[in-house]
Amino acid sequence: MPFVELEHVSLTYRLGKETTLALADATLGIERGEFIAVVGPSGCGKSTIMKLVTGLLPASGGDVKVAGQLVTGPIKGVGMAFQNPTLMPWRTTIGNVLLPMEVVEPHKRRFRRARAEYEARAMKLLGTVGLVDFAQKYPWQLSGGMQQRSNLCRALIHEPELLMLDEPFGALDAFTREELWGVMQALWLEKRFTGVLVTHDLREAVYLADTVYVMSRRPGRIVLSRKIDIPRPRTLATTFEPHFVDLVHELRDRIHQEHAQ
């Protein structure tokens, strides 16, 4: 049974008298430990899928299940990272990374007593993304790429089973972005969480995901599900191999069809 299941899920936004059908009929299943990517034209409800899976938004129709449980409210302990790093400027980098430990059970109860232990854990994680020397710096003293790395650390520190990424590399320059794909893949290979990446960068989707879902224009439906059979670890060199390029083209053609309609 898939870890995350969406069955004929739809969502209607209501603003006053106007209603907008954001998501028409989404059905997909994500296995435990699978990394999927959702791509599609802008405004197709990609981010809506994330909010539905985490229970931040209730579905208007259909069922959302995580670990066999019907999602009715915000599910706890999910890791989330957005395009905007949303770090707290009044906390140091390590303070920001430790935030989930102060909120998520069972760490919350142990936090005061085991602070040193948790700090060591945060430092280890910061080490894997190359930020050890910046642990005591404030977010606004870091570059955009470093902020996004800290953001990923914060999303992963409590070892969530489910990680939600909403265009996390969208605001970065091309070099930093490609470097962070590698960082993200390394983290996933080590921890094997279930990942959901929303992006409009098709190379990013193919690089990181096991399965890529293409969504139609609004109201969003899933029009293509494509397994990515490229062995891991993938590298930047992989992205220039013919098979990789073919996959990207296949996805791009499907999205162009959506735009043409």
Binding site: K51, T54, G55, L56, P74, I75, K76, G77, V78, G79, M80, F82, N84, T86, M88, P89, W90, L99, P100, E102, V103, V104, E105, Y138, W140, Q141, R154, A155, H158, M164
Partner: protein, 258 residues
């Protein structure tokens, strides 16, 4: 002009402008032969200021005391109400319109009512200072809470944070720069409140001193009182600005990095 000279001049500018204004004032008084009862010369005001320094200080002490008590009450009340309004849409829709209406009432109109209730003295001054400086604090704290990034809220909610946790981990730290920014406005308003109350119906404080001096046609003393209020106001403003910088360094990020 070299760089250091420019820096020095930048800091000297307010003093230079003030000195220039006083000089113009002095010259105008002499040239147009303005009677002292209408506009005393700055030198005369300064002389009175020095001569009656102990009296002025005593009255200033009263005003400062009532202002600060009213101001502290306003911080406590404003912070609590601001947090409630910013955190709950129901409290917001219930209280915000009332607050706006209340803020539209000229506070000087409250003083006669306060005098009926609590009599003459320090208490109406404290209450007036409180009600007048309360509003900007409430509005700013509520704004600070209301402008939390939705993504930040989503991150915390998806971690399983309760409303109280979101308030303490993000809301309150986020509202602090707004609170401290409002204190600078609020302290000046608190002075206005206490002096109004002293002037309308007081038996002590600098407002009362000015009122009785003007009743005796003692313009220099009235003006000396005015200067005393201005000095107190500026000093308290400076204290608030200093506290603001100390408490919310992260909100002044540019200055620490640069």
């Amino acid at each position: 002009m070299n760089g250091v000279g420019r820096e020095v001049l930048k800091y000297a500018m307010p003093w230079l402008v003030m000195a220039a204004l006083l000089v113009i004032w002095q010259i105008a008084c002499i040239v147009f032969d303005i009677p002292e009862i209408i506009l005393p010369k700055p030198t005369r005001i300064f002389a009175v200021f020095v001569m009656r320094f102990d009296v002025l200080m005593a009255y200033c002490g009263d005003t400062l005391w009532t202002t600060v008590v009213g101001f502290l009450l306003a911080i406590a009340g404003g912070l609590l109400l601001g947090l409630a309004i910013g955190a709950s849409p129901f409290v917001y829709s219930g209280l915000y319109p009332l607050l706006i209406a209340f803020n539209a009432v000229p506070k000087v109109a409250l003083v006669p009512i306060l005098m009926i209730w609590v009599g003459v003295g320090s208490l109406p001054a404290v209450i007036t200072a409180f009600v007048i400086s309360f509003f900007p604090i409430v509005v700013n704290v509520a704004t600070g809470l209301a402008t939390i990034e939705p993504e930040m809220r989503d991150v915390l909610r998806s971690l399983g944070a309760t409303r109280i946790e979101i308030l303490t981990k993000v809301g309150i730290p986020r509202a602090m720069p707004y609170l401290f920014a409002s204190l600078k406005v609020a302290i000046t308003l608190a002075f206005i409140g206490s002096v109004i109350s002293e002037t309308v119906g007081g038996n002590n404080g600098i407002g009362f001193l000015m009122l009785s001096a003007s009743a005796r046609n003692d313009a220099p003393t009235t003006f000396a009182g005015l200067f005393a209020i201005a000095i107190m106001g500026v000093l308290m403003y400076a204290v608030c600005a200093l506290v603001e910088k100390r408490m919310t360094r992260w909100a002044f990020r540019g200055e620490i990095v640069g």
